[in-house]
């Protein structure tokens, strides 16, 4: 058998090993109760509770932004994002948080926001309104 084939087979084997181990790095979008039960880092997607209080006071702590989010199962929890308050936060349609539960709070270190597209059909800028 050609040496190349041996090496190719070795690589395929390595690939299988790598990709099965890659499953550890993956998770489904979880919810708060899963996160509390598991205790490790998870990704949670949900919606901002717009009626609840948002708190960011950089004078006290520029890396502390708290708000409430409702996860896919409808459970609402307080979330602490260890970062500044992002722009357009209140406009977000969906949030994806990475972090873990600490007591009753979800401590997030990373957040992605999905905002409404700027190409929405209604949004025709009218000059007279801008003025």
């Amino acid at each position: 058998m050609k040496k190349i084939y041996i090496i190719a087979i070795l690589m395929v084997a390595a690939a299988i090993v790598l990709l099965t181990s890659a499953a550890e790095d993956m998770s489904t979008y979880g919810n708060f109760s899963d996160a509390a039960a598991m205790g490790n880092r998870v990704k949670i997607s949900g919606q901002l509770s717009k009626d609840k209080e948002m708190h960011y006071n950089p004078e006290r702590d520029p890396n502390y932004f708290s708000f409430y989010m409702t996860d896919a199962k409808g459970e609402e929890r307080k979330v602490v994002l260890l970062s500044e308050r992002p722009q357009d936060f209140e406009l977000s349609e969906q949030l994806v948080l990475t972090g873990s539960m600490k007591g009753d709070e979800f401590i997030a270190t990373d957040m992605l926001m999905k905002c409404p597209s700027k190409y929405k059909d209604e949004e025709v800028y009218i000059k007279s309104e801008v003025k």
């Binding site: 040496k3 990709l19 993956m26 960011y56 702590d61 970062s83 999905k114 190409y119 009218i126």
Partner: protein
């Protein structure tokens, strides 16, 4: 419904554009077909020549019509014809012309056109440079143009209520795309404005990055076209030289395009890094990796005749992955996994068809000719260079496939959800460690292979003779690399053995390549390009390790933070600090001060000073960084935050504004905040000291602050200054000098709030004392307190001759003469004025002496007078007339109530300070090694191309 006759629309460019789109598409189709027959009829030269001519002409026409379309689009964009949807979406009145290119390729249609543009340019080069391969390669290229051209067609195919739309047409009128009530008015054109270019994209990177990247994208089509052409003609060796040249060009340009993306992210965006394993980055990297694999097998094929099949496969895969990347980034399938904003345009099916068609074409051609591709019977020797180069190519392919696998997870989720609606999609929790974990081993392998195989020879048949030399050089290289790695660890902290291994191999590539260049290849130019690329790769690895592992957030002042966050453990995540204006803060080895900020249109630039001191406290280094933010058009939010970076040879200090006080972000919020301040009224006499107490509720807790204050009024200022107040003619300003102190604070603040009466309006200029979160403003009652007693007083008229003296309310008043050069605090001389003042001396009851100079003025033939007063006595003088005959003057004298009235002012003690920025600062050591190394890689590739054009 009645047709509306619209006013002010420019429909001609639209018609030209539509024509150009159709022509561009149909000529591409014709060209593809003609070139196809030119190849198929190659047995009959006369017919083939005719087809070739048609193909060439129609490709020329295709180029012409595409350029016309691009020109028309630029025309309507520059003219700001907002009746066109594309113009409305990407241009606005305030968009500077220098961003017109950026605006052009901000949209999908524009970037498709950019891509087509490069294909046409490269196609023209092919026609000019390689007559032999013109027909088959152009047939492929024109077919690609047909597919891209279809993306901007905008025609509907099919019947019924839901016809399928093909392409998104960039020349559409807004009113045909959007249904809005405004289109009911015939003159809607004069009422609409543009959306404009996303502020994040308003920088020069957006001008240079997309054209470079798209040239890179477009250029991968050429090796692909050659591969298909060679399979088609069954000529498997004749294309290797040209294929290699173009592949080297493509590798260089695509690489530069990718690097520019990284540089953009690092220099101009607030990502805080140059690579984040974002899906969009990944999917431009993967084709590059496979292309580089193809370059290596192409080299093998040229040198030994091995690996021709793999070269075909790699070039086909490169182009297929370019198309797959286009699909991923433009279809919206990546959704929430990427920070890049994508818009769905309903082109998914077309994009999938694009990928499938060319992957299928490649696969079919390879399968068709597989048996006839020549391959040497003899196997490569394990001691030969080609053997290990080939393994290296496989490793690169492998790397690309792993990245693709992880990046494609959203696609996999979508497919699974299609079959099983209950399927819950999977995501990678932390992408960066995930990718690093695998790619580190790829990099180690590549380091090993490219270092060792450099010393090996092509078609090795007698390794035993060569082994001693090989071993010697390898030994030297290993030794030197170990030394260099050790020295590197003195500079940067490499904390895991995997990274140490990678560091070693990084140096190993550099050392072995240099050694090979000087001692074995004896400075051969061809080898120089390989050395440059490989050495650059090694340098890049060292740079990545240095800047990635030892990047340090210096803006985490733990002293300030401690105890403030409950439940947080990850110190690394605390990346922001708050910087109060003019209060230095120690960050890492620097003393950082936020000094000032300036606003220019929508940009606000902050000056942040960095000072480094030696042990004795002397400043040894000082520099300023200027991060800025861009407001949106209504000043209600920050649209973009642009970092500023200090570049040293050995490292970078990166700084950006993470946040600002809410009152500084949103003008409307600032107004509301000002209105909601809890002002309390106080009053006191001049010279008096007032004590008062205030309670402030804390926002998120049921507690109150109780604060005691002390205020002392110093005096009234009739011509006060205030940094926001600009004096206008006719203003009646009043300022109150006062001292304010919060009793728990040592500092006494000397302030002067100002109130201005301008016409019928009152303008207040309060003073904010940030350190004690207090704001002071004057109450309008101050006018009564200061001027009120004057309003109520009666004037008596007197006639004076020079030297006359009268008694008034017990004061002796005399007129001692005229002043022809009068000065008066409210008088500003104008041309044509006749002004004179009366010098009046007053000897008061108590024996004190005072002077007053009321002014008499004739301006524009009408008499005016400006009064003067002796405040201590409450005496007011007006100079109302001169009688030249009798040489007398007429003076009005009034006596005001001298008892002082208390002066009212208002204090709000809940006015939070707003003189700070929230800053993120990161130190990136050795990042220049990354830039230099990666640039050398690309220079090596381009150099390789030039060397092979000169001497194939």
């Amino acid at each position: 419904m009645q047709e509306i006759q619209y006013i002010g629309e420019h429909l001609l460019p639209g018609k030209i554009g539509q024509l150009a789109i159709m022509l561009s598409f149909s000529t591409a189709l014709l060209s593809a077909a003609a070139y196809f027959f030119a190849v198929q009829r190659r047995g009959r030269p006369a017919e083939a020549a005719n087809w070739l001519r048609i193909g060439r002409w129609s490709f020329g026409l295709h180029g012409l019509s595409t350029f016309t379309l691009i020109g028309t689009m630029f025309y309507i964009m520059i003219q700001q014809y907002y009746e066109y949807q594309y113009v409305q979406a990407h241009v606005s009145d305030d968009l500077p012309m220098k961003y017109i290119f950026s605006a052009f390729w901000e949209g999908q249609e524009g970037s498709f056109l950019l891509w087509m543009f490069w294909h046409i340019v490269l196609g023209a080069l092919l026609i000019l440079s390689d007559k032999k391969w013109e027909a088959p390669t152009l047939a492929v290229l024109a077919t690609i143009q047909v597919f891209i051209g279809s993306m901007i067609l905008g025609v509907y195919v099919g019947f019924g209520d839901d016809p399928m739309r093909i392409g998104s047409n960039p020349m559409m009128l807004l009113r045909d795309v959007v249904d809005a009530p405004i289109f009911a008015s015939a003159d809607y054109v004069s009422q609409i404005g543009g959306t404009g270019l996303n502020p994040l994209l308003q920088n020069y990177w957006m001008t240079i990055h997309p054209p470079t990247l798209f040239l890179g994208f477009a250029s991968t089509a050429i090796p692909f076209a050659y591969a298909i052409a060679a399979l088609w003609l069954n000529d498997h060796k004749g294309w290797l030289t040209q294929g290699l040249r173009w592949a080297l060009f493509s590798g260089g340009i695509l690489g530069v395009g990718i690097l520019m993306g990284g540089a953009w992210a690092y220099e101009a965006l607030s990502f805080g890094g140059y690579w984040a394993w974002d899906p969009v980055e990944n999917m431009s990297l993967v084709p590059w990796l496979i292309l580089v694999a193809g370059i290596h097998t192409n080299l093998i094929a040229k040198a030994t005749g091995h690996s021709i099949r793999s070269t075909y496969i790699f070039y086909v895969l490169t182009f297929a992955f370019i198309l797959y990347s286009t699909f991923l980034t433009r279809s919206g399938v990546l959704g929430e996994t990427s920070v890049h904003a994508f818009t769905e345009m309903g082109l998914e099916r077309q994009l999938i068809a694009f990928v499938v068609a060319f992957l299928g074409l490649g696969a079919f051609m390879i399968a068709w000719r597989y048996k006839s591709v020549p391959a040497p019977q003899r196997e490569e020797a394990a001691s030969s260079r080609e053997f290990w180069m080939f393994i290296g190519s496989l490793v690169l392919l492998f790397s690309g496939l792993i990245i693709t696998w992880s990046t494609s997870l959203p696609v996999y989720n979508k497919i699974m959800a299609y079959f099983d609606p209950d399927y819950i999609g999977r995501v990678i929790t932390d992408p960066i460690p995930h990718y690093n974990k695998y790619q580190i081993w790829i990099a180690i392998f590549i380091g090993l292979l490219s270092g060792v195989s450099q010393y090996l020879r092509y078609r090795e048949f007698n390794f035993s003779k060569y082994a001693a030399k090989f071993g010697l050089h390898l030994g030297i290289a290993i030794g030197l690399s170990l030394l260099m790695s050790y020295l590197t660890t003195l500079w940067i902290d490499i904390y895991a053995w995997q990274y140490k291994l990678l560091l070693f191999f990084g140096w190993f590539i550099i050392v072995s390549n240099l050694d090979y260049l000087f001692s074995m290849s004896r400075g051969s130019f061809k080898m120089a390009s390989a050395t440059l690329s490989h050495g650059g790769f090694g340098l890049m690895i060292v740079g990545i390790l240095a800047s990635g592992l030892n990047q340090e957030v210096i803006s985490n002042n733990l002293f300030v933070m401690e105890g403030l966050i409950q439940g947080a453990t990850d110190e690394q995540m605390r990346k922001n600090v708050i910087l109060f204006k003019n209060s230095p803060l120690v960050m890492g080895e620097y003393e950082v001060t936020y000094v000032s900020d300036t606003v220019d249109q929508f940009t606000r630039t902050f000056t942040v000073e960095y000072k480094r001191r030696d042990k004795s406290g002397k400043v040894v280094e000082e520099f300023a960084l200027y991060p800025n933010i861009l407001y949106d058009k209504t000043f209600s939010k920050v649209a973009a935050s642009n970092p500023s970076t200090k570049h040293y040879l050995g490292r970078d200090i990166f700084t950006h504004i993470a946040s600002l006080p809410m009152v500084e972000i949103d003008l409307e919020f600032r107004r509301q905040r000002e209105d909601s301040l809890n002002y309390k009224m106080h009053e006191a006499l001049l010279g008096q000291t007032l004590y008062f107490r205030d309670t402030v509720p804390l926002t998120d807790q049921d507690t109150f602050y109780i604060k005691d204050f002390q205020a002392r009024l110093l005096g009234i200022d009739r011509s006060p200054s205030h940094h926001d107040y600009h004096k206008e003619q006719g203003d009646l300003p009043i300022g109150l000098s006062m001292e304010l102190q919060r009793m728990d604070d040592d500092s006494v603040y000397l302030i002067k709030p100002v109130l201005v009466l301008r016409g019928q309006m009152l303008y207040s200029y309060p003073v904010q004392i940030n350190d004690i979160s207090t704001k002071v403003r004057l109450d309008e009652g101050i006018f009564d307190a200061v001027f009120g007693r004057e309003v109520e007083m009666d004037y008596q008229s007197f006639t004076f001759k020079q030297g006359d003296r009268i008694s008034y309310n017990g004061h002796q008043i005399s007129f001692s003469g005229f002043n022809k050069q009068p000065q008066h605090e409210n008088y500003e001389p104008e041309e044509g004025d006749i002004a004179v003042s009366a010098m009046i001396s007053v000897q008061a009851k108590d024996g004190s002496n005072h002077l007053a100079q009321p002014l008499y003025l004739i301006r524009n033939s009408s008499p005016l007078n400006l009064k003067d007063e002796v405040p201590a006595l409450g005496l007011h003088f007006r100079f109302t007339g001169i009688d030249p005959k009798t040489e007398t003057v007429e003076l009005m004298i009034g006596q005001a109530d001298t008892t002082e009235r208390p002066i009212p002012f208002q204090v709000a003690t809940d006015s939070l300070r707003s003189d700070y920025i929230v800053l993120e600062a990161i130190s990136f050591p050795g990042i220049n090694l990354f830039w230099v190394g990666s640039s050398l890689m690309m220079i090596g590739l381009i150099l390789g191309m030039f060397l092979r054009i000169r001497r194939p």
